[in-house]
Amino acid sequence: MNIWGNFDTGEELFSGHERWNETDFTLSYSHELCAGLTGTVGIIYYSLVNAPDDSHEAFAGLSYALPWFTIGVTGYREFHNYPGWWMQIEIFHNFKLPCYGMSLDLGFSAGYLDSNPQGYADWHSGQVSAALNIPVHKCITISPKIGLAFPLTRNGSDNIKFNSWDGEENHVCGGIRIAASF
C-alpha cells in the first residue's frame, strides 16, 4: 500500500493555486511466479485537484530479472473518468559501486498511450533516468537523480506539448530523493 503526494512550490497556472494538487493511493500485490519472473497487480486512485474528476486505474505487469538488467512490461487501464490504456516497457539495472555501499540506478522506459477522451493512440513518450544511491545510515539513503523525458513520435510530441503546463515536449527533471526503509 502506497500513499504519494505532490506539493508544487509555485503553482500559478490554475485559479485556486492549490500547491498540494495530487494525492495517489496505490494498492498492489506482487508474486514471484517462477525464478526471476515477478507478476504485479494493483489499483491506483488519483486524487487530482486541478482536473475535473479524479482518476482510477487498474494495472498488471510482469518483470523478469536477467543477469545484466531487469525488463518489465506493465499495462494500466483507466476505468472511470478518462478511459484509456497506458502500456509501459521498462529496462533498468542497479549497479553496485565499490565504495561506501553506493549503487547506481540506470533505467529506460517507453510508453504507449491509447486515450479515448483525447482520441489518441500511438507511442507516446520515453524516459531515461539515473540515480546515485548513497547510504548515509543503516536504513536511510540519499539519491541525487536526473531524468530526461522525450516524445517517441510526432503525435506524441504534439500531445505532450498540448498537455504540458510549460508547453514543451522535452523535459529534464532532476533533484534529490531521501528514503528510509525499515
Binding site: 500559478e12 500547491r19 507516446h124 527533471c173 534529490i176 526503509s181
Partner: protein, 126 residues
C-alpha cells in the same frame, strides 16, 4: 538570573548580527527573513523559497502519517519478535525535484515540487 539570561541572549544576537553583516547578509530580527532576503537578492528561487516556508496543513498531515506509521510498524514488529523476513516493511521517501513529469507530460511549470511517499508492505503466504 532572568536578566543574566537576557544579557547572554542579547550578546549572542549582537554577535550573530555582526557575523551576518560581515558576510553581506541583510539582518533583521527574524533570521528566517534574513535567509529569504539572501536568496531574494540573488534572485534565486524567489517564489519557491517563500512558498516552502509557508505552513501547509496537508504537509503536516503527511509527516504525521509517516511518523505514526513508522512507530506503529517498528513497535509492533519488535514486540512480536517476528522473523525479519516476515516483518511488515515501511518505506518512506521524499523527493525534491525541479519539475513534476508524469508519463512525459510536465505537470508543473517553473516551480520545484516536493513529493513525499510512504509504502507499507507485508509478506503474504499463498
Amino acid at each position: 538570573m532572568r536578566s543574566e539570561g537576557f544579557a547572554l541572549f542579547d550578546s549572542l544576537k549582537k554577535g550573530f548580527d555582526t557575523l551576518l553583516r560581515a558576510n553581506g547578509w541583510h539582518t533583521s530580527s527574524h533570521y528566517g527573513q534574513a535567509f529569504l532576503w539572501r536568496f531574494t537578492k540573488r534572485g534565486f528561487w524567489r517564489e519557491e523559497m517563500k512558498s516552502m516556508f509557508q505552513s501547509h496543513l496537508q504537509i503536516l498531515l503527511t509527516f504525521t502519517i509517516i511518523i505514526f506509521s513508522f512507530l506503529v510498524s517498528v513497535s509492533s514488529s519488535l514486540a512480536q519478535g517476528e522473523e525479519k523476513e516476515d516483518r511488515p516493511t515501511v518505506n518512506a521517501s521524499m523527493e525534491i525535484l525541479s519539475q513534476y513529469v508524469f508519463r512525459g507530460v510536465a505537470l508543473s511549470a517553473d516551480s520545484a515540487v516536493i513529493q513525499p511517499s510512504i509504502a507499507l508492505g507485508c509478506r503474504a503466504s499463498l
